[in-house]
């Protein structure tokens, strides 16, 4: 299991407006494309110097494809990264202020301290 790779997905998608839209509209397409094309990009280096060993396990891939932010939290993905990206995708559907943010928290109401470890 790679919390680092989950975080890398959330981080790199969040900072690219076109990827945010693709992840919202077709998560399976985006996650599949990202794992094949971007998971091994070493940021700040050329393509020829990409890493060779990074891939999701089945549970991680499924959580991302299903937009399952609760499962991502339980797997130890960094909560700030998940929240920021999911707000970018879904806050626009709010019918009142903070509607999505509150629902996001409410879906995690069953989770008690100590929270999953986010150390990478």
């Amino acid at each position: 299991m790679s919390k680092y790779l989950l975080n890398k997905f959330l981080y790199t998608v969040d900072r690219d407006p076109s990827l945010v839209e693709r992840y919202r509209s077709d998560p399976r397409e985006l996650v599949t494309w990202w794992e094949a094309s971007s998971a091994n990009e070493l940021l700040n280096c050329t393509d020829a110097e990409a890493s060779t060993w990074l891939r999701f396990d089945d549970e991680e891939r499924a959580a991302l494809i299903e937009h399952d932010h609760v499962r991502l939290f339980e797997m130890g993905a960094h909560p700030f990264l998940t929240l920021t990206l999911f707000i970018a995708m879904f806050e626009r559907d709010n019918t009142e202020p903070l509607e999505y943010q509150k629902a996001y928290g409410a879906r995690m109401a069953h989770i008690n301290l100590p929270y999953p470890d986010i150390a990478t």
Binding site: R15, N44, F80, A88
Partner: protein, 289 residues
């Protein structure tokens, strides 16, 4: 030598800019009170008449990333572009450009390394809302040169709370040993109790009002003894999963000095978080209290 004319510790609520500039139906009910408090807080910096701002904050996974994560980093550049796409998107923050004070950056890096802190540095740093929020609240003209100092409160393993305090104490000595006639304000931002991306987020108050009350007392009284006794890397999980940002307040308590009571204290109980604002005047510096 340079003089430290103000030490300021603050929360950095990214929604202040949007709330304070909103009009009509978009203006939230708490915006007027919030703005009044910020204007009073701003005056505590203005009347210190600083020439240079040392700005302590924390990168929120913008430029600093898990493939190369520094614990403490000092910017040394002539300019700093500021704010990021996702901060424009979520908080409506404007793009900004701040001048750097490279001589002071050089001095802090050399003296910090010699004082036992293996500081990372950056010659091209785009800063984020942990530093631009206090610029917006305290010096919206954004006209003073800065030295940004980033701390890792975000990506474990983190330095111990005591290390933040010691760095603050070191920054105090280092700035006061800078061979310059300039007047320096040291401004740092962090959090009280805060939850992000967890079940306790976006409640009607901060996730742990009792912690917030104790924290405000520690800071206002410079009570590092009790603060360091109660606060550990483990204990900070309990008030909220993003509460490790409180360690930047502890760093600022180190700058202000053990036992130093703040000259100005204010708070604002908002949804999601308790806002808190503190100013110390370490030297008279021409400020009439």
């Amino acid at each position: 030598m340079a003089s430290i004319v103000a030490v300021i510790a603050s929360t950095h609520h990214p929604f202040y800019y949007k709330a304070s500039t909103a009009t009509g139906e978009d203006r939230p009910p708490f915006a007027d009170e919030w703005t009044r408090k910020i204007l009073a807080f701003r005056e505590t910096l203005t009347r210190a008449n600083p020439d240079v701002l040392v700005m302590v904050g924390s990168d929120h996974f913008h430029q600093l990333w898990l493939d190369n994560m520094p614990q403490f980093l000092v910017g040394k550049a002539p300019f700093y572009d500021a704010n990021w796409y996702n901060e424009e998107r979520e908080f409506g923050l404007p793009r900004m450009l701040l001048k750097g004070q490279e001589d002071l950056s050089t001095h802090i890096l050399r003296a910090g390394l010699d004082d036992g802190f293996d500081l990372a540095f950056s010659n091209e740093l785009r800063i984020d809302h942990s530093i631009t929020c206090p610029i917006i609240t305290l010096r919206p003209e954004a006209d003073l040169p800065i030295v940004p100092i980033y701390t890792n409160i975000f990506a474990p393993p983190l330095p111990q709370p005591s290390r933040f305090v010691k760095l603050g104490e070191s920054i105090r000595r280092i700035v006061e040993s800078w061979p310059s006639h300039l007047r320096v304000a040291v401004i740092g931002t962090g959090h009280l109790s805060l939850e992000l991306g967890g079940p306790r987020q976006f409640g009607p108050h901060g996730p742990d009002p009792e912690f917030d009350q104790r924290a405000v007392e520690w800071i206002a009284n410079g009570d590092l003894d009790n603060c360091l006794r109660e606060v550990t890397l483990d204990s900070l999980h309990a008030p909220g999963n993003a509460t490790h940002g409180f360690m930047d307040f502890m760093l600022m308590m180190g700058v202000a000095g053990a036992g130093a009571k703040a000259d100005y204290v204010d708070t604002l109980d908002l949804f999601h978080t308790m806002e808190a604002y503190f100013t110390w005047y370490p030297t008279s510096g021409g400020v009439s209290l």
